[in-house]
Amino acid sequence: MANLAGTAPASALPAAWSSQPLLTIEGLTVDFSGVQVIRGIDLTVARGESIGIVGESGSGKSVTWLAALGLLPRTATVSGSIRLDGEELRGAAAMRLDRIRGGRVAMIFQDPSSALNPVIRIGRQVGEVLARHQGLSGSSIRAEAKRLFELVGLPDAGRRFDAYPHELSGGQNQRVMIATALAGKPDVLVADEPTTALDATIQAQILDLLTTVRRETGMALVLISHDLGVVSETCERIMVMYGGLVVETAPSESIFASPRHPYTQGLLAALPPFEGALRRLIPIEGQVPEPATMPPGCPFAPRCPQRMAVCEVTIPPLAQTEAGRFSACIAGPATEAQQPLKLKTSVLA
């Protein structure tokens, strides 16, 4: 199923970059004490590509990438394969993973408090990455750290070097984390909600910066965000997760114009409008199923307005609906046309 995720449009990439995927995840599952929270994920990330990952809170967006980087606690059981340029990362030695993390693959974490050490000055935290992964030392560390802080728009970069995280605002700490992630000159940057604490103007600057770095260095960007606007403006391809599965993947323009999966449709309908009349927001009815009590069929079935009897017994596979688009829904491409009878036969076929 590795072909499912597709690759970035060739036009967006310099010709020299191979079309071979940089990072490949196959059949990834994660269990926490016997409860499966990631239930089989396949995806590929090509050099220079930008993938946006959206999905319900608790759907496994963060855990997928923590698993890929070997960052989950011991209580987690990971299976499947994660390959970086052909090298298997699952089960790799801790020392080896340590070298890769922060270097070839960097991650910006969702919780600033778990990523920045409160008792170490921020300049030293960035400096450690520069020393480890860039081999810099002494005054060149300070100069490079200052350059990175300026790059992410941290005001008064020179002086901030000696600040502790608590002396910075939420958004300033978030930019320190982005600078730290970029310090290792990664091939893949996994950014988990990197701009939630930033105002719209700085958010736009940071997203532009990530896109520029991507274009200039061929860094691949995996952007996890609940803000559909953010991924829409930054990413070429969108992956929608629900209940530990990928339920839809499509190029950015088409998914927002015509979402195929009923969950994606619900997600877009719940978005507060920025123009036009105010109305009460329309949440998706019901709650996300708990991993321990996941329905046997389609994970979205208990909340789906288009549910049919068959949905409750079969997990719909991610199937191509049209070129470059995949949706895991039994109602399939005909959701707009509402032809459940015809669909049932196609499931049986």
Binding site: F32, E56, S57, G58, S62, D111, S113, S114, G153, L154, P155, D156, G158, R159, D162, A163, E167, L168, S169, G170, G171, Q172, Q174, R175, E193, T196, A197, L198, D199, A200, T201, I202, Q203, A204, D208, H226, D227, L228, G229, V230, S232, E233, E253, F256, L267, L268, A270, L271, P272, P273, F274, E275, L278, R280, L281, I282, P283, I284, Q287, E290
Partner: protein
């Protein structure tokens, strides 16, 4: 006329930071002469540049931090000094929800214990009643019994934020200061939490000081909003007016940069120039190094507020001298 529940009068707060171990101390003016008022049962949104002093203002509003000058009135009474019995009594009616949900929760306690904790501390009701109340509150924010028994790290980011919200609401406060309360939530849960907040506001006449970067949510929840830039308020007025026809050049840039899913309909204004530095505040109008329509006086003279016919206040020289009905800049 609705009475105001919270009034900030010319509050300022500065911190000192030093460069290097032996460097000299430099003051950082985090909040500078900010005045605001929040009407009972309403929502006032505080938006603006990251680092412009919104969280500091929120902490000062609750008396968690003292302003260097200015004062805060809660229902017309000045806030007592922090950690005095009088302050603690008043504090029970005011709650805060912080930006970072993981830092706000105790890592070793189950969610239900933490949500029930304020009731335990204030000894409200019997033990079983407290538990039921905590469960009901969790249910109201969309968390179930199995979430209740989880530890914070076992929940996703969005689930944690709802736990924090439940804990803040369980004492039925009159005033809730929310610092980025829905930024960690995905949109469908965000819609639930926003609806919950608005329903509770109606039912309990809850007043909200709502700090947020998400202008789409701000549009949904607030009647009035204040835009901050480098410690000062630059525009203040009815939310729908500020969002549909922003007047201050910073507000314009901010509104234009709101990311939209699908095709964007308006041109994004990209701000140029140095990011603002509170330790070296530009002279005159602090926005002048990045303002496309700055004029000579902007470098020298700090603009004062002028009131437009639609009731909003704007601190900008260009607005002063233009007929207020005309759009400023381009």
């Amino acid at each position: 006329m609705t009475a105001s529940i919270l009034d900030l009068h010319g509050i300022s707060r500065s911190y000192s930071t030093r460069q290097g171990l032996f460097g000299k101390k430099v003051p950082v003016h985090a909040v500078d002469e900010v005045s605001l008022s929040l009407k009972e049962g309403q929502t006032l949104a505080l938006v603006g540049e990251s680092g412009s002093g919104k969280s500091t203002t929120g902490r000062i509003a609750l008396g968690l931090e003292r302003p260097n000058s200015g004062y805060v009135l809660f229902r017309g009474t000045e806030l007592p000094a922090a950690d005095t019995p009088a302050w603690r009594r008043m504090r029970a009616q005011m709650q805060m929800i912080y930006q970072d949900p993981l830092a706000a929760l105790d890592r070793r306690l189950s969610i239900i214990d933490q949500v029930r904790e304020p009731l335990d501390i204030h000894d409200i009701g019997s033990a079983s009643k407290r538990n039921n109340k905590a469960l009901a509150m969790l249910d109201a924010v969309g968390l179930n019994a199995s979430h209740a028994t989880s530890l914070p790290y076992q929940l996703s980011g969005g689930q944690r934020q709802r736990a924090v919200l439940a804990r803040a609401l369980i004492m039925q406060p009159a005033l809730l200061v929310c610092d980025e309360p829905v930024s960690a939530l995905d949109v469908s849960i965000q819609a639930q939490v926003v609806n919950v907040l608005m329903d509770l506001q109606k039912e309990l006449r809850l007043s909200l000081l709502f700090i947020s970067h998400d202008l789409k949510v701000v549009r949904q929840v607030s009647q009035r909003m204040a835009v901050m830039y480098l410690g000062r308020i630059v525009e203040f007025g009815e939310t729908h007016l500020l969002l549909s026809s922003p007047t201050h050049p910073y507000t314009k840039a901010l509104v234009s940069a709101v990311p939209v899913a699908g095709r964007r309909t308006r041109e994004r204004i990209i701000l140029k120039g140095e990011p603002p530095n509170p330790a070296a505040r530009p002279t005159g109008c602090a926005f002048h190094p990045r303002c496309a329509i700055a004029r000579p006086e902007c470098v020298r003279v700090s603009p004062t507020f002028s009131t437009l016919p639609d009731g909003r206040s704007v601190a900008c020289h260009a607005v002063h001298t233009n007929p207020p009905t005309k759009e400023v800049g381009s």
